[in-house]
Amino acid sequence: MTETEVEEIERPLEADWSCRVNGSPMGDMPADLYIPPDALEVFLESFEGPLDLLLYLIRRQNLDILAIPIAEITRQYMAYIEVMQALRLELAGEYLVMAALLAEIKSRMLLPRPAGSAEDDEEDPRLALIRQLQEYERFKAAAERIDDIPRLERDVFHAHASRDALAAPPAPAPALDDLIEALVGVLRRASLSAHHQISAEALSVRERMARILETLEHEEFVDFVSLLVVSEGRPGVVVAFLAVLELSKGGLLEWGQSEAFSPIQVRRRMAAVIDS
Protein backbone atom coordinates (compact mmCIF):
# COMPACT_ATOMS: atom_id res chain seq x y z
CA MET A 1 0.00 0.00 0.00
CA THR A 2 2.64 2.42 1.08
CA GLU A 3 4.95 1.21 -1.57
CA THR A 4 2.56 2.12 -4.33
CA GLU A 5 1.96 5.47 -2.72
CA VAL A 6 5.64 6.14 -2.62
CA GLU A 7 5.99 5.13 -6.20
CA GLU A 8 3.18 7.36 -7.23
CA ILE A 9 4.99 10.23 -5.68
CA GLU A 10 8.34 9.38 -7.07
CA ARG A 11 7.58 8.20 -10.53
CA PRO A 12 6.43 11.36 -12.23
CA LEU A 13 9.15 13.33 -10.55
CA GLU A 14 11.72 10.80 -11.44
CA ALA A 15 10.76 10.93 -15.07
CA ASP A 16 10.69 14.67 -14.92
CA TRP A 17 14.02 14.78 -13.25
CA SER A 18 15.82 12.43 -15.56
CA CYS A 19 14.70 14.24 -18.68
CA ARG A 20 16.02 17.42 -17.28
CA VAL A 21 19.17 15.91 -16.04
CA ASN A 22 20.11 13.36 -18.58
CA GLY A 23 23.15 14.50 -20.35
CA SER A 24 23.87 17.74 -18.68
CA PRO A 25 25.13 18.13 -15.16
CA MET A 26 22.51 19.53 -12.90
CA GLY A 27 24.84 22.13 -11.48
CA ASP A 28 24.71 24.21 -14.61
CA MET A 29 21.21 23.79 -15.80
CA PRO A 30 20.04 26.25 -18.37
CA ALA A 31 18.77 29.27 -16.51
CA ASP A 32 15.54 29.29 -18.47
CA LEU A 33 14.72 25.69 -17.73
CA TYR A 34 11.54 25.63 -15.76
CA ILE A 35 11.56 23.49 -12.66
CA PRO A 36 8.47 23.54 -10.55
CA PRO A 37 10.36 24.52 -7.44
CA ASP A 38 7.92 23.06 -4.97
CA ALA A 39 7.92 19.69 -6.68
CA LEU A 40 11.67 19.56 -6.74
CA GLU A 41 11.95 20.54 -3.13
CA VAL A 42 9.47 17.92 -2.04
CA PHE A 43 11.39 15.39 -4.05
CA LEU A 44 14.76 16.34 -2.64
CA GLU A 45 13.44 16.60 0.87
CA SER A 46 12.06 13.12 0.62
CA PHE A 47 15.52 11.66 0.88
CA GLU A 48 16.24 10.23 4.26
CA GLY A 49 19.87 11.17 4.20
CA PRO A 50 22.92 10.68 2.04
CA LEU A 51 22.74 6.88 1.97
CA ASP A 52 19.18 7.09 0.74
CA LEU A 53 20.17 9.53 -1.97
CA LEU A 54 23.05 7.30 -3.05
CA LEU A 55 20.79 4.27 -3.14
CA TYR A 56 18.38 6.21 -5.28
CA LEU A 57 21.12 7.18 -7.72
CA ILE A 58 22.29 3.58 -7.91
CA ARG A 59 18.82 2.15 -8.35
CA ARG A 60 17.84 4.68 -10.93
CA GLN A 61 20.48 3.24 -13.19
CA ASN A 62 19.81 -0.34 -12.25
CA LEU A 63 23.29 -0.66 -10.92
CA ASP A 64 24.42 -3.25 -8.46
CA ILE A 65 25.46 -1.86 -5.12
CA LEU A 66 28.41 -4.18 -5.21
CA ALA A 67 29.56 -2.55 -8.40
CA ILE A 68 28.93 1.11 -7.94
CA PRO A 69 31.00 3.22 -10.26
CA ILE A 70 32.31 5.63 -7.68
CA ALA A 71 33.39 8.28 -10.11
CA GLU A 72 30.04 8.46 -11.82
CA ILE A 73 27.99 8.23 -8.66
CA THR A 74 30.10 10.91 -7.01
CA ARG A 75 29.49 13.21 -9.92
CA GLN A 76 25.74 12.70 -9.74
CA TYR A 77 25.69 12.99 -6.00
CA MET A 78 27.54 16.28 -6.12
CA ALA A 79 25.11 17.55 -8.72
CA TYR A 80 22.19 16.82 -6.41
CA ILE A 81 23.95 18.51 -3.53
CA GLU A 82 24.51 21.56 -5.67
CA VAL A 83 20.87 21.70 -6.64
CA MET A 84 19.86 21.33 -3.04
CA GLN A 85 22.13 24.16 -2.10
CA ALA A 86 20.91 26.28 -4.98
CA LEU A 87 17.38 25.75 -3.73
CA ARG A 88 18.62 26.73 -0.29
CA LEU A 89 17.30 23.55 1.18
CA GLU A 90 18.46 23.04 4.68
CA LEU A 91 21.16 20.57 3.93
CA ALA A 92 21.92 18.21 6.76
CA GLY A 93 25.61 18.08 7.50
CA GLU A 94 25.61 14.38 6.77
CA TYR A 95 25.16 15.08 3.06
CA LEU A 96 28.35 17.08 3.01
CA VAL A 97 30.22 14.47 5.00
CA MET A 98 29.18 11.93 2.41
CA ALA A 99 30.29 14.21 -0.38
CA ALA A 100 33.68 14.44 1.24
CA LEU A 101 33.82 10.69 1.69
CA LEU A 102 32.94 10.08 -1.94
CA ALA A 103 35.57 12.54 -3.06
CA GLU A 104 38.08 10.81 -0.86
CA ILE A 105 37.25 7.38 -2.22
CA LYS A 106 37.41 8.68 -5.72
CA SER A 107 40.74 10.30 -5.22
CA ARG A 108 42.18 7.24 -3.55
CA MET A 109 41.07 5.13 -6.46
CA LEU A 110 42.60 7.54 -8.91
CA LEU A 111 45.97 7.20 -7.26
CA PRO A 112 47.99 4.67 -9.13
CA ARG A 113 49.02 1.83 -6.92
CA PRO A 114 52.69 1.13 -6.65
CA ALA A 115 53.33 -1.85 -8.85
CA GLY A 116 55.33 -3.57 -6.13
CA SER A 117 52.65 -3.59 -3.50
CA ALA A 118 50.12 -5.55 -5.48
CA GLU A 119 49.20 -7.35 -2.30
CA ASP A 120 45.91 -6.05 -1.16
CA ASP A 121 47.12 -4.76 2.13
CA GLU A 122 44.92 -1.85 1.68
CA GLU A 123 41.20 -2.44 1.61
CA ASP A 124 39.36 -1.29 -1.44
CA PRO A 125 38.28 2.22 -0.48
CA ARG A 126 34.79 1.47 -1.71
CA LEU A 127 34.27 -1.43 0.64
CA ALA A 128 33.19 0.42 3.74
CA LEU A 129 30.72 2.52 1.81
CA ILE A 130 29.30 -0.47 -0.02
CA ARG A 131 28.80 -2.30 3.25
CA GLN A 132 27.08 0.70 4.71
CA LEU A 133 24.83 1.04 1.68
CA GLN A 134 23.94 -2.62 1.80
CA GLU A 135 23.17 -2.47 5.46
CA TYR A 136 21.03 0.61 5.03
CA GLU A 137 19.20 -0.94 2.11
CA ARG A 138 18.31 -3.99 4.21
CA PHE A 139 16.68 -1.84 6.84
CA LYS A 140 15.05 0.39 4.32
CA ALA A 141 13.42 -2.67 2.80
CA ALA A 142 12.57 -4.00 6.26
CA ALA A 143 10.94 -0.68 7.13
CA GLU A 144 8.72 -0.95 4.06
CA ARG A 145 7.75 -4.48 4.99
CA ILE A 146 6.97 -3.45 8.54
CA ASP A 147 4.78 -0.72 7.15
CA ASP A 148 2.98 -3.33 5.06
CA ILE A 149 2.12 -5.44 8.07
CA PRO A 150 -1.49 -4.83 9.00
CA ARG A 151 -1.36 -2.34 11.80
CA LEU A 152 -3.70 -1.58 14.61
CA GLU A 153 -6.02 1.31 13.92
CA ARG A 154 -4.92 1.53 10.31
CA ASP A 155 -5.79 -1.92 8.99
CA VAL A 156 -6.83 -3.73 12.11
CA PHE A 157 -9.56 -2.68 14.46
CA HIS A 158 -10.30 -4.14 17.78
CA ALA A 159 -13.75 -5.13 18.73
CA HIS A 160 -14.59 -4.36 22.25
CA ALA A 161 -17.60 -3.54 24.25
CA SER A 162 -17.82 -0.29 26.11
CA ARG A 163 -16.60 -0.77 29.59
CA ASP A 164 -18.34 2.29 30.95
CA ALA A 165 -21.13 0.24 32.38
CA LEU A 166 -18.72 -2.15 34.00
CA ALA A 167 -16.22 0.17 35.58
CA ALA A 168 -17.21 1.36 39.02
CA PRO A 169 -18.82 4.68 38.27
CA PRO A 170 -17.49 7.67 40.14
CA ALA A 171 -19.61 8.42 43.16
CA PRO A 172 -22.52 10.40 41.74
CA ALA A 173 -23.57 13.60 43.36
CA PRO A 174 -26.96 12.99 44.87
CA ALA A 175 -29.90 14.73 43.33
CA LEU A 176 -31.72 17.41 45.29
CA ASP A 177 -34.60 14.98 45.63
CA ASP A 178 -32.38 12.60 47.51
CA LEU A 179 -31.30 15.32 49.87
CA ILE A 180 -34.83 16.35 50.51
CA GLU A 181 -35.88 12.79 51.08
CA ALA A 182 -33.11 12.40 53.59
CA LEU A 183 -34.26 15.60 55.24
CA VAL A 184 -37.81 14.34 55.40
CA GLY A 185 -36.61 11.19 57.06
CA VAL A 186 -34.67 13.09 59.64
CA LEU A 187 -37.50 15.51 60.22
CA ARG A 188 -39.83 12.65 60.82
CA ARG A 189 -37.50 11.24 63.38
CA ALA A 190 -36.98 14.72 64.80
CA SER A 191 -40.68 15.13 65.27
CA LEU A 192 -40.77 11.84 67.15
CA SER A 193 -38.03 12.82 69.49
CA ALA A 194 -39.11 16.39 70.01
CA HIS A 195 -40.72 15.82 73.30
CA HIS A 196 -40.35 19.25 74.64
CA GLN A 197 -40.63 22.67 73.22
CA ILE A 198 -37.39 24.41 72.62
CA SER A 199 -37.52 28.03 73.43
CA ALA A 200 -36.72 29.38 70.04
CA GLU A 201 -33.14 30.24 70.18
CA ALA A 202 -32.26 32.05 67.04
CA LEU A 203 -30.36 29.60 64.97
CA SER A 204 -28.06 31.16 62.56
CA VAL A 205 -27.40 29.42 59.29
CA ARG A 206 -24.02 31.11 59.10
CA GLU A 207 -23.01 29.91 62.48
CA ARG A 208 -24.14 26.43 61.61
CA MET A 209 -22.12 26.53 58.43
CA ALA A 210 -19.02 27.21 60.47
CA ARG A 211 -19.84 24.43 62.87
CA ILE A 212 -20.39 21.97 60.09
CA LEU A 213 -17.09 22.91 58.53
CA GLU A 214 -15.45 22.30 61.87
CA THR A 215 -17.07 18.91 62.05
CA LEU A 216 -15.74 18.13 58.61
CA GLU A 217 -12.28 19.31 59.50
CA HIS A 218 -10.62 16.00 58.85
CA GLU A 219 -11.65 15.81 55.26
CA GLU A 220 -13.16 12.44 55.69
CA PHE A 221 -16.53 11.47 54.42
CA VAL A 222 -19.20 11.57 57.08
CA ASP A 223 -22.79 10.56 56.90
CA PHE A 224 -24.73 13.52 55.62
CA VAL A 225 -27.58 12.70 57.96
CA SER A 226 -25.28 12.95 60.96
CA LEU A 227 -24.89 16.66 60.30
CA LEU A 228 -28.56 17.15 60.93
CA VAL A 229 -28.82 16.88 64.65
CA VAL A 230 -32.18 15.40 65.39
CA SER A 231 -32.16 16.46 69.03
CA GLU A 232 -32.31 20.07 67.93
CA GLY A 233 -35.76 19.51 66.68
CA ARG A 234 -37.29 20.56 63.44
CA PRO A 235 -35.90 24.12 63.29
CA GLY A 236 -32.42 22.90 64.14
CA VAL A 237 -32.52 20.29 61.42
CA VAL A 238 -33.80 22.83 58.91
CA VAL A 239 -31.03 25.27 59.79
CA ALA A 240 -28.44 22.56 59.50
CA PHE A 241 -29.87 21.51 56.15
CA LEU A 242 -29.81 25.09 54.90
CA ALA A 243 -26.26 25.44 56.13
CA VAL A 244 -25.24 22.33 54.24
CA LEU A 245 -26.93 23.61 51.09
CA GLU A 246 -25.18 26.95 51.47
CA LEU A 247 -21.82 25.28 51.91
CA SER A 248 -22.47 23.07 48.98
CA LYS A 249 -23.42 26.03 46.84
CA GLY A 250 -20.17 27.66 47.82
CA GLY A 251 -18.31 24.66 46.55
CA LEU A 252 -17.00 23.80 49.97
CA LEU A 253 -18.47 20.34 50.13
CA GLU A 254 -17.98 17.18 48.18
CA TRP A 255 -20.69 14.62 47.92
CA GLY A 256 -20.47 10.94 47.54
CA GLN A 257 -22.50 7.83 47.64
CA SER A 258 -20.82 4.50 47.33
CA GLU A 259 -23.82 2.90 45.69
CA ALA A 260 -27.45 3.56 45.07
CA PHE A 261 -29.51 3.88 48.27
CA SER A 262 -26.46 3.77 50.49
CA PRO A 263 -26.01 6.63 52.94
CA ILE A 264 -25.23 9.95 51.32
CA GLN A 265 -21.81 11.04 52.35
CA VAL A 266 -20.30 14.44 52.50
CA ARG A 267 -16.90 15.87 53.21
CA ARG A 268 -15.01 19.05 53.06
CA ARG A 269 -13.59 19.76 49.64
CA MET A 270 -9.81 19.79 49.60
CA ALA A 271 -8.33 23.22 49.74
CA ALA A 272 -6.50 22.77 46.47
CA VAL A 273 -9.70 22.12 44.66
CA ILE A 274 -11.25 25.30 45.94
CA ASP A 275 -8.35 27.34 44.73
CA SER A 276 -8.46 26.05 41.20
Binding site: I70, R75, Q132, F139, A142, P150, R163
Partner: protein, 216 residues
Protein backbone atom coordinates in the same frame (compact mmCIF):
# COMPACT_ATOMS: atom_id res chain seq x y z
CA UNK B 1 -12.48 -31.00 38.32
CA UNK B 2 -11.05 -33.44 35.88
CA UNK B 3 -13.34 -36.24 36.85
CA UNK B 4 -16.52 -34.38 36.07
CA UNK B 5 -18.73 -36.37 33.76
CA UNK B 6 -18.91 -34.94 30.24
CA UNK B 7 -22.67 -34.61 30.50
CA UNK B 8 -22.47 -32.33 33.51
CA UNK B 9 -19.67 -30.35 31.92
CA UNK B 10 -22.01 -28.96 29.28
CA UNK B 11 -23.58 -26.04 31.15
CA UNK B 12 -20.32 -25.07 32.70
CA UNK B 13 -18.36 -24.96 29.46
CA UNK B 14 -21.05 -22.80 27.98
CA UNK B 15 -20.79 -20.52 30.95
CA UNK B 16 -17.04 -20.46 30.51
CA UNK B 17 -17.39 -19.37 26.90
CA UNK B 18 -19.74 -16.60 27.92
CA UNK B 19 -17.41 -15.41 30.65
CA UNK B 20 -14.47 -15.41 28.27
CA UNK B 21 -16.48 -13.50 25.70
CA UNK B 22 -17.42 -10.90 28.29
CA UNK B 23 -13.85 -10.49 29.55
CA UNK B 24 -12.37 -10.21 26.08
CA UNK B 25 -14.92 -7.70 24.90
CA UNK B 26 -14.54 -5.58 27.99
CA UNK B 27 -10.75 -5.52 27.77
CA UNK B 28 -9.10 -2.73 25.88
CA UNK B 29 -5.91 -4.72 25.41
CA UNK B 30 -5.11 -8.32 24.67
CA UNK B 31 -5.76 -10.50 27.69
CA UNK B 32 -2.99 -12.95 28.58
CA UNK B 33 -4.05 -16.52 29.13
CA UNK B 34 -3.04 -16.44 32.78
CA UNK B 35 -5.33 -13.48 33.39
CA UNK B 36 -8.14 -15.38 31.72
CA UNK B 37 -7.46 -18.36 33.94
CA UNK B 38 -7.43 -16.21 37.03
CA UNK B 39 -10.59 -14.36 36.05
CA UNK B 40 -12.45 -17.57 35.29
CA UNK B 41 -11.60 -19.10 38.62
CA UNK B 42 -14.89 -17.75 39.94
CA UNK B 43 -16.94 -19.61 37.39
CA UNK B 44 -19.38 -21.90 39.12
CA UNK B 45 -17.96 -25.29 40.02
CA UNK B 46 -14.43 -24.01 40.22
CA UNK B 47 -11.80 -22.60 37.90
CA UNK B 48 -11.11 -24.25 34.58
CA UNK B 49 -7.99 -26.14 33.69
CA UNK B 50 -5.77 -24.71 31.05
CA UNK B 51 -6.96 -27.25 28.47
CA UNK B 52 -10.57 -26.46 29.24
CA UNK B 53 -9.88 -22.82 28.72
CA UNK B 54 -8.15 -23.44 25.40
CA UNK B 55 -11.05 -25.56 24.27
CA UNK B 56 -13.53 -22.89 25.34
CA UNK B 57 -11.58 -20.24 23.47
CA UNK B 58 -11.64 -22.43 20.39
CA UNK B 59 -15.38 -22.90 20.62
CA UNK B 60 -15.81 -19.20 21.22
CA UNK B 61 -13.78 -18.48 18.10
CA UNK B 62 -15.95 -20.94 16.19
CA UNK B 63 -19.05 -19.05 17.26
CA UNK B 64 -17.77 -16.01 15.44
CA UNK B 65 -16.96 -17.90 12.27
CA UNK B 66 -19.70 -16.22 10.33
CA UNK B 67 -19.52 -12.83 11.96
CA UNK B 68 -17.43 -9.80 11.12
CA UNK B 69 -15.61 -10.17 14.41
CA UNK B 70 -12.93 -12.74 15.07
CA UNK B 71 -10.97 -13.95 18.04
CA UNK B 72 -7.22 -13.68 17.54
CA UNK B 73 -4.15 -14.31 19.58
CA UNK B 74 -1.09 -12.07 19.59
CA UNK B 75 1.90 -11.50 21.83
CA UNK B 76 -0.12 -10.05 24.66
CA UNK B 77 -2.88 -12.65 24.62
CA UNK B 78 -6.36 -12.96 23.16
CA UNK B 79 -8.54 -10.23 21.80
CA UNK B 80 -11.47 -9.71 19.50
CA UNK B 81 -10.97 -7.77 16.34
CA UNK B 82 -12.81 -6.81 13.21
CA UNK B 83 -12.11 -9.18 10.36
CA UNK B 84 -9.58 -7.60 8.03
CA UNK B 85 -11.91 -7.65 5.05
CA UNK B 86 -14.08 -5.06 6.78
CA UNK B 87 -11.17 -2.81 7.60
CA UNK B 88 -11.76 -0.43 4.72
CA UNK B 89 -15.33 0.26 5.78
CA UNK B 90 -14.42 0.57 9.44
CA UNK B 91 -11.64 2.88 8.44
CA UNK B 92 -14.01 5.02 6.40
CA UNK B 93 -16.27 5.39 9.41
CA UNK B 94 -13.47 6.70 11.59
CA UNK B 95 -13.50 10.43 12.15
CA UNK B 96 -9.77 10.71 11.52
CA UNK B 97 -7.46 8.96 9.16
CA UNK B 98 -4.59 7.34 10.96
CA UNK B 99 -1.41 9.29 10.26
CA UNK B 100 1.04 7.75 7.83
CA UNK B 101 4.29 6.89 9.46
CA UNK B 102 7.25 8.69 7.98
CA UNK B 103 10.00 6.69 6.34
CA UNK B 104 12.46 8.02 8.87
CA UNK B 105 10.31 6.69 11.67
CA UNK B 106 9.77 3.33 10.00
CA UNK B 107 13.45 2.89 9.29
CA UNK B 108 14.33 3.73 12.86
CA UNK B 109 11.68 1.31 14.07
CA UNK B 110 12.98 -1.41 11.75
CA UNK B 111 16.52 -1.00 13.03
CA UNK B 112 15.35 -1.18 16.63
CA UNK B 113 13.18 -4.20 15.86
CA UNK B 114 15.91 -6.20 14.15
CA UNK B 115 18.93 -4.98 16.05
CA UNK B 116 17.62 -4.57 19.58
CA UNK B 117 18.88 -3.67 22.02
CA UNK B 118 20.43 -0.84 20.09
CA UNK B 119 21.68 2.65 20.92
CA UNK B 120 20.78 5.79 19.09
CA UNK B 121 24.32 6.07 17.76
CA UNK B 122 24.05 2.61 16.25
CA UNK B 123 20.80 3.58 14.57
CA UNK B 124 22.48 6.66 13.20
CA UNK B 125 25.38 4.60 11.88
CA UNK B 126 23.05 2.47 9.84
CA UNK B 127 20.83 5.26 8.57
CA UNK B 128 23.65 7.69 7.96
CA UNK B 129 21.71 10.57 9.49
CA UNK B 130 20.98 11.85 12.95
CA UNK B 131 17.94 10.29 14.59
CA UNK B 132 15.56 13.05 15.46
CA UNK B 133 14.40 13.33 19.04
CA UNK B 134 10.87 13.69 17.73
CA UNK B 135 10.98 10.25 16.16
CA UNK B 136 12.22 8.60 19.33
CA UNK B 137 9.56 10.41 21.29
CA UNK B 138 6.81 9.34 18.90
CA UNK B 139 7.97 5.73 19.04
CA UNK B 140 8.16 5.86 22.81
CA UNK B 141 4.80 7.53 23.18
CA UNK B 142 3.19 4.92 20.98
CA UNK B 143 4.75 2.43 23.35
CA UNK B 144 6.41 0.65 20.48
CA UNK B 145 9.93 1.06 21.81
CA UNK B 146 11.38 1.58 25.25
CA UNK B 147 14.75 1.85 26.89
CA UNK B 148 15.69 -1.52 28.30
CA UNK B 149 19.08 -0.62 29.70
CA UNK B 150 22.20 1.37 29.18
CA UNK B 151 25.25 0.45 27.23
CA UNK B 152 28.35 0.42 29.39
CA UNK B 153 30.31 2.87 27.32
CA UNK B 154 31.06 6.50 28.08
CA UNK B 155 27.81 8.40 28.33
CA UNK B 156 25.89 5.21 29.07
CA UNK B 157 23.52 5.64 26.13
CA UNK B 158 20.09 4.08 26.39
CA UNK B 159 19.53 0.75 24.68
CA UNK B 160 16.27 0.65 22.79
CA UNK B 161 14.10 -2.37 22.21
CA UNK B 162 10.61 -2.95 20.90
CA UNK B 163 7.73 -3.60 23.26
CA UNK B 164 4.96 -6.12 23.43
CA UNK B 165 2.57 -3.39 22.36
CA UNK B 166 4.54 -3.14 19.13
CA UNK B 167 4.00 -6.84 18.48
CA UNK B 168 0.36 -6.60 19.50
CA UNK B 169 -0.28 -3.63 17.26
CA UNK B 170 1.18 -5.50 14.32
CA UNK B 171 -0.66 -8.66 15.28
CA UNK B 172 2.57 -10.58 15.83
CA UNK B 173 3.07 -13.22 18.44
CA UNK B 174 6.82 -13.05 18.56
CA UNK B 175 9.61 -10.91 17.24
CA UNK B 176 10.81 -13.59 14.84
CA UNK B 177 7.48 -13.41 13.06
CA UNK B 178 8.69 -10.18 11.53
CA UNK B 179 9.60 -10.60 7.88
CA UNK B 180 13.23 -11.68 7.71
CA UNK B 181 15.89 -9.16 6.84
CA UNK B 182 17.35 -9.43 3.37
CA UNK B 183 20.53 -11.40 3.29
CA UNK B 184 23.74 -9.52 2.99
CA UNK B 185 25.45 -10.54 -0.16
CA UNK B 186 29.04 -11.40 0.40
CA UNK B 187 31.54 -9.13 -1.12
CA UNK B 188 33.52 -11.83 -2.84
CA UNK B 189 34.89 -10.06 -5.81
CA UNK B 190 34.55 -6.37 -5.81
CA UNK B 191 34.50 -5.53 -9.47
CA UNK B 192 37.49 -3.49 -10.23
CA UNK B 193 36.99 0.09 -11.06
CA UNK B 194 40.68 0.69 -10.91
CA UNK B 195 40.93 -0.49 -14.49
CA UNK B 196 39.71 2.85 -15.69
CA UNK B 197 40.05 4.89 -12.55
CA UNK B 198 43.72 4.26 -11.98
CA UNK B 199 44.59 5.20 -15.49
CA UNK B 200 44.79 8.85 -16.27
CA UNK B 201 41.18 9.45 -17.10
CA UNK B 202 40.05 11.49 -19.96
CA UNK B 203 38.57 14.52 -18.33
CA UNK B 204 35.22 14.09 -19.98
CA UNK B 205 34.40 11.02 -17.97
CA UNK B 206 34.68 13.07 -14.85
CA UNK B 207 32.94 16.17 -15.94
CA UNK B 208 31.11 15.63 -19.17
CA UNK B 209 28.75 12.94 -18.06
CA UNK B 210 27.58 12.46 -21.64
CA UNK B 211 28.20 8.75 -21.75
CA UNK B 212 26.33 6.19 -19.71
CA UNK B 213 27.91 5.30 -16.41
CA UNK B 214 30.90 3.07 -16.90
CA UNK B 215 30.09 -0.55 -16.98
CA UNK B 216 31.98 -2.47 -14.39
Amino acid sequence: MKDVEPATVEPRTEELELVLEAILFAASEPVPIKDLLAACSTVESGGPEREELDAALERLAAHYLHRSIELVRSAGGYRFRVRPRFSAQVQAAQPERPPRLSRALLETLAIIAYRQPVTRAEIEDIRGVAVSTQIMRTLTEREWVHVVGHKEVPGRPGLYATTRTFLDDLGLGRLDELPPLDDLRELVDLPSETADAALPLPSRSLEGGEEPPPES
